[in-house]
């Protein structure tokens, strides 16, 4: 009964997401244009990907590196060992 309830809820959420209005990309392009025009002046990089990755979206990068660190720690402590970490 509970499984069917959860499944029904998921289907409802899925249908809701599909039917909800989506902001089209065209109207959000001011950010895109801003990055392309100003990234060299703002960050001093010639590669726009690096300027976004390390300057505009730095907190994204921080948590991404945290993700790698946590997966390494998980692998170390869950892998088979004999007391030698």
């Amino acid at each position: 009964m509970r499984k069917k309830l959860i499944a029904g809820l998921m289907v409802a959420v899925f249908i809701g997401i599909l039917s909800s209005p989506v902001v089209p990309i065209g109207s959000a392009s001011f950010l895109h244009d801003y990055y392309i025009q100003n990234f060299t002046k703002d960050t001093g990089a010639l590669n726009s990907v690096t300027s976004i990755y390390l300057n505009y979206r730095i907190f994204d990068t921080l948590f991404e590196t945290l993700l790698l660190l946590i997966s390494v720690i998980g692998i170390i402590y869950f892998s088979r060992h004999e007391g030698d970490y």
Binding site: T50, L68, I75
Partner: protein
């Protein structure tokens, strides 16, 4: 690894230096050309894998690599938050570029440590 062929050992031994140079190039030019810390770090981690494939040396210092990774993560967090707090328009272009370069190098070394620890954990510790 035991039983690696002679041909593979020789060619991989010659390819060592080129892989290291390529990885350092990718990291160092991360803010100019495509690439960056993560990609360069992964390339540097593949050096450790080549080392495992062609020799039987199993003396990897896990404790040191893990500690180094944790310290580097702490440094990355502190450094980037410090930069974000003090970032304004009056900062010179060289300082901003220097920040990108230092962050790329730190992330590169961190990813290299992390991936090689993952690989050697799987290879040396599982199924023994």
């Amino acid at each position: 690894m035991e039983g690696t062929s002679f041909l593979l050992k020789r060619t991989m031994g010659a390819a060592y230096t080129f892989i290291i140079i390529f990885g350092i190039y990718i990291i160092y030019n991360g803010h100019i050309s495509p690439g960056g810390g993560f990609q360069g770090g992964a390339i540097l981690a593949s050096v450790f894998i080549v080392h495992y494939l062609i020799t039987e040396d199993k003396s990897i210092r896990f404790a040191f690599l893990t500690l180094l990774e944790k310290i580097l993560y702490f440094t990355i967090v502190c450094f980037s938050i410090f930069f974000v707090l003090y970032n304004n328009d009056r900062l010179s272009m060289e300082a901003k570029t220097m920040y990108l370069l230092i962050m790329n190098i730190l992330i590169g070394i961190k990813v290299c440590c992390g991936l090689s620890v993952v690989f050697f954990r799987f290879v040396l510790f599982e199924s023994r």
